[in-house]
Symmetry: C2
Subunit: 387 residues, 2 copies
DNA sequence: TTCGTTTGTTAACTTAACTTACTAACTTCT
DNA sequence: AGAAGTTAGTAAGTTAAGTTAACAAACGAA
């Protein structure tokens, strides 16, 4: 029974049990046996092993049922069995954190990205992690692995960043670089995918099978979770909503906001909104300021921002038409102006898409990137433990 | 070892072996053992069972390898172990066929849809199948099951057609109706999903992990295969490309071609193309005729058809931006004018989408619907056999 | 205190892998 | 032609990981 193809049967069952305990705390051996349709002895041996290894903790006995009988032993998942490192590399700052297996942040720190280049960056990351480990007295053997997010198209498997304009990287072997400083398994993906994973694991997308995370900032990008799995596409470029065209006539003459920018981000991205209004008003306006003016009913702002929001709305409606997701989560810098964006976008979705779809603003804070990176690690890592 | 959760381990391995034999004919016990990393004895016992049951046939011995040694016994999959019924219900005609497990059509016949309504339709289908079974001398016990395609939004699980305008159905329990006449497992899905499954199984999409099948006819619809699995969305309405908006300004004023029609099918669907040109020329023109005039360089046709094709191109480019598929297959009535459509569409995709994507015309014939329906049956059926 | 109930364990059995050791069949080298 | 070397497939025995059946432990209530 050693092998049914790379994965032993026992391991499967152990994983199922551990997963069940996680999702149904507190639980008992008998309950597990019933729910997973395994026999009681099987569950007992598996639980014994998991308790031995420290994945599961027996906590006092629970309540016996109405009709009497022996009280069950409560079983709880032990989220401190191991710790995870999450790294969120952004254009301006780098965030590093250590979480437990539940995604609870135990320690977190950031440093400016620009000060360091190439190898010095990774030494700095390692240094931060070492400090945090010391602080929390977590030994290397307790570390499960490293997950990292990068703002650019990334090949999960080779770990090479095809292109990350914000960092000036091209064909950059980030996984290798991280692996050089960390003696743990390393997983890398792009920042929007990480955002989607984070929302699915710990954010508003918990228990949703199909969701889209859209980050509207300088550019517009999105991560797609279908059937509970991140969908990356054939060339790791699924979710490039920034390239969506929402106006045939306009598309013929549009100018990319930056080289390599797509249509949508050129008409609805943060930079474009700012510059468009700046041109109209004759002074430099930031995107936030533009929204502020829009809220105040400034006519120029209404004139310039209105269409930008409509384009975004159409792009999202198109997403709904194609993928029929359960939930769309908006994140990124512009999600601060969700109060302005939401009515326009959801009106357009209702008007044009065949099905409705809830659209919400992300509830995660600054640490979302780090937690998403940890979600990536736990999803991809082929260990006993799995989200 | 009875249960690791609904599915025994043995069954998994049997299925893997059978699948391997199918895809790698002819093969041998030793090769299977190597490729699936199972031991030789294990493979021998599994193969013995499969031969006993008739799934696998031993054909003469093969060639021994370069360095000598005993000649292996060649193993072949037996596609005649069972037969499948495929039903393709269209607005104008109904097609029924019987195929073997490879999807080879053994018998096929059609009849007009309108002549029959409600229960009479299903009696007719059953009658046709009975005739074909007799002709081929296939007993009920050899029938694997029934797959069926319907032109409308269909809930795979309950088997209820939400709405099929072409047939005048609403909340129609088609699975139940078919189950009433057939004593075999029945699976139903909508026609574009079936088209996608057919292309993936026997068409141009073989061995592709991610593909889109787009049917351009009266309306525009699509089926999505991601990671080798049909993606249906949260409300069974994924792939509704007909609702995609490709022009913000135009969308504000467009009139649906029919009630419930989306933007894209209203500007690029077959009916709209015909009527648009009819209006311009002052006489009734069919879509085919419109393409004919376009090929001949007729200025009115260029003026009306050009934008329609561009809208379709943008919709497909948006698809590529979002899903990054490996292949897009065009089908439906208008794919006859692929020579006209392809240059426009692929030019637009190259211009606006972040990655390239091959776009081809379906190579399947009239029987595609029946074969796709069989593909659905084999995908969904939880038997030993699986595509 | 005793009885019914529920939890969890122990013991014996079953299944389906595995390993090791074989036979069978074939090629090639001498 | 016969020996040596190679590869295919089988037989016998072992091991892992389940199963069922029976029982001990713990508890509530009559």
């Amino acid at each position: 029974m050693q092998n049914f193809n790379e994965e032993t049967n026992k391991n499967r069952n152990s994983r199922q049990v551990l997963q069940y305990v996680q999702n149904s705390e507190p639980t008992t051996r008998t309950e597990i046996a019933r729910k997973l349709s395994l026999s009681k002895p099987t569950v007992s041996t598996i639980v014994a092993e998991l308790v031995e290894e420290g994945w599961i903790i027996e906590t006092g006995s629970g309540e016996s049922s109405a009709s009497g009988g022996r009280k069950p032993v409560n079983l709880m998942f032990n989220p401190k069995k191991a710790y995870c490192i999450g790294v969120d590399i952004g254009g301006t700052k780098v965030a590093v954190g250590i979480t437990d297996l539940r995604g609870k942040l135990e320690s977190y720190r950031t440093f400016p990205a620009q000060e360091h280049q190439d190898d010095s960056l990774f030494k700095m990351i390692k240094h931060m992690v070492d400090e945090m480990q010391e602080e929390l007295s977590i030994s290397d053997s307790q570390i499960f692995g490293v997950g990292a997010g990068v703002p650019g198209v990334t090949d999960m498997e080779t770990g090479i960043v095809e292109e990350a304009p914000a960092l000036g990287w091209k064909e950059f072997p980030i996984k290798e670089k991280l692996q050089n400083v960390f003696p743990f398994p390393v997983y890398v993906d792009n920042d929007v995918n990480i955002g989607a994973l984070g929302e699915h694991w710990r954010g508003l997308g918990r228990n949703k099978r199909n969701l889209i995370f859209i980050a509207v900032g300088t550019g517009v990008g999105s991560g797609i979770i279908l059937n509970g799995q991140l969908f990356r596409g054939s060339h790791y470029s699924a979710g490039e909503i920034g390239y969506m065209v929402t106006d045939r006539s306009l598309a013929k003459s549009y100018e990319p906001a930056y080289a390599g920018y797509g249509f949508l981000e050129s008409v609805s991205g943060g930079t474009s909104i700012g510059t468009a209004l700046s041109g109209r008003l004759g002074r430099r306006v930031s995107a936030e300021e533009a929204f502020e003016l829009y809220r105040a009913g400034n006519p120029e702002a209404l004139e310039k921002l209105g269409p930008a929001l409509e384009h975004l709305g159409i792009a999202i409606a198109n997403y709904v038409s194609i993928l029929d997701p359960e939930l769309i989560i908006l994140g990124g810098g512009l999600s601060q102006s969700f109060d302005v964006i939401h009515p326009v976008v959801s009106g357009i979705v209702r008007q044009y898409a065949p099905k409705e779809c809830e659209i919400v603003k992300t509830a995660s804070g600054k640490e979302a990137g780090v937690i998403g990176a940890v979600a990536l690690l736990l999803k991809e890592h082929e260990g006993l433990y799995n989200i």
